[in-house]
């Protein structure tokens, strides 16, 4: 991992510590969510920790011809074939500079018995976030993001977008929008 990846991760860590510094009184409301935080295109996002199987450093990724554009390729995770999804592309973010593109980390998630890797710029800490910080997606959020996000957490310094793994991996919707 290089410095470029560490920066967002550090900010995630800072956000996490700022949460931890707050009094825990208000958290009795119950529904906490444990998220693995990650950054993509400078945006802090989170996926439920339960969906995550592994976090990997930059991997050798084999291209898959004719695959949907969001599919970066496939990689070998200890003998299992994992399909890599270019998260930036999936979320309609501008592609990272080529120098960084090869150094992206993988958040390996499982859906219906299959493993997928989400290529991200950096992976932060695992955070436990209380319900009171949660808010529905603002209506101004890009339709593509609304399609894959369940809502937003108001962290002290930044906002964290909660991503839904199932909808992230349903490539049908954005592919269509791209052709429309």
């Amino acid at each position: 991992m290089n410095a470029i990846n560490e920066r967002p991760a550090a900010s995630a860590a800072a956000a996490a510590s700022s949460i931890a510094a707050q009094p825990r009184a208000g958290e009795s409301a119950g529904t906490e969510r444990v998220l693995v935080t990650l950054t993509v295109g400078g945006q802090l996002c989170g996926v439920p920790v339960g969906a995550v199987r592994d976090v990997l450093d930059a991997q050798k990724i084999a291209r898959i011809p004719l695959a949907p554009p969001e599919v970066a390729g496939s990689l070998n995770l200890r003998g299992r074939i994992v399909t890599a999804i270019d998260l930036a592309r999936r979320l309609r973010l501008p592609p990272p500079p080529p120098a960084q593109a090869g150094a992206r980390m993988s958040v390996v998630v499982e859906l219906a018995g299959e493993l997928y890797s989400l290529l991200v710029d950096g992976v932060g800490e695992v955070m436990t976030l209380p319900e009171r910080l949660f808010e529905e997606n603002p209506p101004t959020l890009d339709a593509c993001w609304r399609g894959v996000s369940d809502g937003v957490y108001r962290l002290e310094s930044v906002l964290l977008v909660l991503l839904d793994v199932g909808r992230l991996l349903d490539l049908g919707a954005p592919a269509r929008a791209a052709t429309a």
Partner: protein, 915 residues
């Protein structure tokens, strides 16, 4: 029966072991309906099976036992220790007979009337207390036997009780009391059967049943997966070892490698079954066919013990049966013709199976008349499959391949005796699906031989590793014929005809497909460089031979085929992916997919965009449809979509019976109603039927009906453009088929005549609707080919344009391509993704989010409807109710029209933001 006996014994012993435990549990907890049900079912199974195997004595005892259990179940008899004891006695008698069966493979002689009487009395509520109490010395034991029995009995009982069921023995606490007196019945059995029971001393007890254990398929599959992983890891290690000279672990690694190979082989064996298992129904089939056709047929089967993966075996069963049927029906000529041709009177069908280099080869041959190349040529011409000039250039073998085309059949063949399935195209599709290939050779007058080459297993294949466009790919070895190196200087040179690449290979031109271009990896600079060195993988799929241009060829490697992730399934060019020895992931090319690409492109190199354009497999348009032409109730031709017809039969008059004013015939073990095409015809007696009655057989699930017609004429592929006529019952309308005005029949109408409930309370005739210039476009998502074929013409006839998708995934793929129907009709029960999930996917996002969506289902309860509405369906109708289906579609379309304008704008906006 001999084949079935070991299975029966294994199963029965397992059942008996379970019964012991369950009965004891039942006694402790008499109200336990589930346990009772289990016991009843087990005994019932034993009874049913032995009836089937002709084991009369066993069946009688099992029947009496079952009766008591049935009374328990109905609550007519209390579960008392006394009654349970009687049941246990019955069970013990069963065990004893089973033990003898294991030893001698024959049911022992004997008499169980006393036991049966006791059981019957027990069932009637009169407990034979005496028998229960004085178990060990029962009255009915004939005198002379007592001397022998005491020795033989404990042995036999102990043997069978402890052997199949080691576990239950120590566990049940209250059981010994009722269970032990159950030793009572044995004296009766050996009494009459002392000799065999004794003779088969304990050392031979490990007879028929004990040699096999039954393992759940999942266990074997999991084991296979693990071994596959192990093989991969081994390959990786070997690769590492190769890179480091003199590594200390080389020797142990070699051993590990050997053991892994042996293990792999062993686990493969677990899944292996002799191909004879797929053949065992054939002798009977051939015998029946011989009788029906009046031919003399000899079936020779060689290599029945050749083993192959059970998964492959299952998939190959039906195509084999179909081909043998073809041989007997069409291949072999009638006896007189054979004699006239100077051939032996008895026709011969030969089945051969053998292994060859990781594949199994199955050959089905007959010594009949062979294929008539002339007739195929004519037919191909009529159907527009090839031009006169093309045909002239074709070799005999190439012309014969036309019989693999969908809907292709030579006319006499189709009217010939007995059933004809949908055709050789289906056989070929099935074989190709499992990575196999099929070849046909035929010599006029000498016979036809079909050779099928299939991989032994689907899990591990040998593949050639190639590189194209900077990526590596695996090509399964099975289709690879040879490798040719092509460069500017060498003899082999890639030439171009108007952009189509070809290679002169010996005496023929080989069409070429550029893999990099096909996969969208083309590098324009490389394209134009003629001196660039390239390799051509000459590949055969069926009989089409083509070359795949690649940049480099590496070695061959044993690879473990892993299915591709679901989000990549629509890419038809890949059959899977794998991990190579060096740990990299590569895609496995599907030669069949490439062949299709080559076929449609006629050798023209494809760009990625074009490849994307191609409609995915399983999408049919209402454009061309194979139609079966026949005559019935008049001289004018009638047509029905061939896809709807299950078989064509020619039934001898004497086999048609008349029951309750309706014609029926015995067909494949069930009664098939025969419906005369013309309704007024129904009064005629069977005697007035033609000597051989041509019948179109329609089948859906278990239901089969036959439509009696005058003559079956032809199969044509044509555009089905229905002109709606006056609503005549039984007709969808008329169309021009093969240049003649033809009535297209409404199969649904005739199905309803055979089974009034086939369509529920469905009405007759199609609602005409639409009629405007713009025909509404309907996407039908339905996995059953039958219903697709049925619904298609109905909707076309009702004024809609129809596009069908086999699965929701195909449908969603269409969405990605920008296809937009006016309405979607979807089945609910579909594999992989059901209708609810599909509706949710459609509603969630995308261009179809606001389309009217109608669910068609065979289940239309209130709860289902609620669930359907929740998932996003506009309407939810029973698929058998055609009137309701049409009404729902019309209603949903009317609703959908309201929202149209706003949505158009939205689309426009989206396009803008994307641009």
């Amino acid at each position: 029966m001999d084949d079935l006996l070991p299975d029966f014994l294994t199963e029965t012993n397992e059942g008996l072991a379970e019964i012991d435990t369950a009965l004891v549990a039942l006694e402790r907890n008499p109200g336990d309906a589930a346990t009772l049900q289990l016991i009843f079912r087990l005994v019932h199974t034993i009874k049913g099976t032995c009836g089937f195997l002709g084991l009369g004595r066993l069946e009688r005892v099992a029947h009496a036992t079952e009766t008591v259990l049935g009374r328990f179940r109905d609550g007519a008899l209390a579960v008392s220790p006394g009654a349970v004891t009687q049941v246990l006695r019955g069970i013990d008698a069963i065990k004893l007979i089973v033990t003898a069966l294991e030893r001698t493979r024959r049911e022992p002689e004997g008499e169980d009337s006393a036991l049966i009487a006791d059981l019957e009395a027990c069932a009637e509520g009169r407990l034979p207390m005496l028998a229960a109490a004085s178990g060990p010395t029962p009255g009915p034991t004939p005198g002379p036997a007592t001397g022998v029995a005491p020795d033989a009995v404990p042995d036999a009982v102990a043997g069978c009780a402890s052997e199949p069921a080691p576990k239950p023995a120590p566990e049940p606490v209250p059981s010994p009391t009722p269970a032990k007196p159950a030793a009572a019945p044995p004296p009766e059995a050996p009494a009459a059967d002392p000799a065999p029971a004794n003779a088969g001393a304990t050392d031979t007890v490990a007879a028929v049943g004990a040699q096999t254990i039954r393992v759940h398929v999942d266990v074997a599959e999991d084991l296979m997966t693990l071994v596959s992983e192990l093989v991969l890891t081994r390959n990786q290690l070997l690769q590492l070892a190769r890179e480091q000279d003199g590594a200390p672990f080389t020797v142990p690694l070699q051993r590990l490698s050997h053991i892994t190979s042996d293990l792999q082989e062993g686990v493969m064996k677990l899944r292996m079954q002799p191909i004879g298992n797929a053949w065992n129904k054939l002798p009977r089939l051939v015998r029946d066919l011989a009788r029906e056709t009046g031919k003399k047929i000899e079936l020779v089967m060689r290599g029945a013990d050749t083993e192959l993966d059970r998964q492959v075996l299952e998939l190959i069963k039906d195509p084999l049966t179909h081909m043998v049927r073809n041989c007997a029906d069409h291949g072999l000529e009638p006896t007189e013709a054979r004699l006239a041709a100077g051939k032996p009177e008895t026709g011969r069908i030969t089945l051969d199976a053998f292994h060859e280099g990781g594949h199994i080869i199955i050959e089905i041959a007959d010594d009949g008349r062979g294929l008539s190349t002339q007739r195929i040529r004519e037919k191909a011409l009529v159907q527009g499959l090839a031009s006169e000039a093309q045909l002239a250039a074709m070799s005999e073998t190439e012309i014969q391949q036309f019989i693999f085309r969908p809907g292709f059949s030579t006319a006499p063949a189709i009217t010939a005796v007995s059933g004809r399935g949908v055709g050789m195209d289906v056989v070929r599709a099935n074989v190709q699906r499992i990575g196999g290939s099929i070849e046909l050779r035929s010599a006029a007058g000498r016979g036809t031989a079909v050779t099928i080459k299939i991989p032994l297993t689907l899990a591990i294949v040998s593949a050639l590793i190639v590189a194209a466009g900077g990526e590596r790919f695996a090509i399964p070895q099975i289709g690879v014929l040879e490798l040719v190196r092509a460069s500017g200087g060498s003899a082999a040179r890639v030439e171009c005809i108007n952009g189509a690449a070809v290679l002169r290979l010996r005496d023929r031109l080989l069409p070429l497909v550029d893999l990099a271009a096909l996969l969208g990896l083309a590098d324009p600079a490389r394209e134009t460089d003629p001196a660039h060195e390239r390799f051509i993988v000459v590949t055969q799929v069926g009989t089409s031979i083509f070359g795949i241009i690649v940049d480099r060829v590496f070695d061959t490697e044993e690879i473990v085929v892993k299915p591709v992730a679901p989000i990549l399934r629509h890419v038809a060019l890949f059959s899977g992916n794998t991990i190579l020895g060096d740990g990299s992931v590569i895609m496995i090319l599907d030669p069949n997919g490439i062949a299709r690409a080559v076929g449609t492109q006629a050798g023209r190199s494809t760009t990625a965009a074009e490849a994307e354009e191609r409609v995915p497999a399983g999408i049919e348009s209402s454009a061309r449809l194979a139609l079966l032409l026949f005559r019935a109730g008049g001289a004018e031709p009638k047509a029905v979509p061939l896809g709807l017809v299950a078989r064509l039969e020619d039934i001898p008059r004497e086999r048609i019976e008349r029951i309750d004013g309706r014609f029926v015939t015995q067909y494949r073990g069930q009664l098939m109603p025969l419906v005369p095409f013309a309704e007024g015809f129904a009064a005629t007696a069977a005697a007035e039927l033609p000597v051989r009655q041509p019948v179109l057989v329609f089948a859906d699930r278990e239901r089969v009906m036959g439509l009696m017609v005058d003559a079956i004429d032809d199969v044509l592929e044509d555009r089905l453009r229905l002109e709606l006529g006056a609503a005549r019952p039984g007709f969808l309308g008329s169309a021009v088929v093969g240049g003649r005005a033809t009535d297209v029949i409404d199969v649904g109408h005739h199905l309803a005549r055979a089974f009034p409930d086939w369509w529920g309370q469905g009405g007759i005739g199609a609602d005409s609707q639409g009629g405007g210039t713009q025909r509404p476009r309907i996407l039908v998502v339905e996995d059953s080919a039958f219903f697709r074929a049925l619904l298609g013409p109905l909707l076309v006839a009702s004024g809609y344009e129809v596009v069908a998708a086999e699965t929701p995934r195909h449908a969603l793929a269409l969405r990605e391509r920008g296809f937009r129907p006016d309405l979607i009709v979807s089945d609910i029960e579909m594999p992989e993704m059901d209708g609810f999930a599909f509706a949710e996917a459609v509603r969630a996002s995308g261009a179809w989010a606001d389309l009217p969506l109608v669910a068609l289902t065979s289940r239309a309860g209130a709860a289902d409807m609620a669930r359907g509405r929740a998932a996003g369906f506009t309407d939810y109708v029973a698929k058998f109710d055609r009137q309701a289906v049409l009404a729902a579609i019309a209603g949903a379309l009317a609703l959908g029209a309201e929202g149209h304008e706003g949505e158009g704008q939205q689309d426009g906006m989206m396009a803008e933001t994307d641009a």
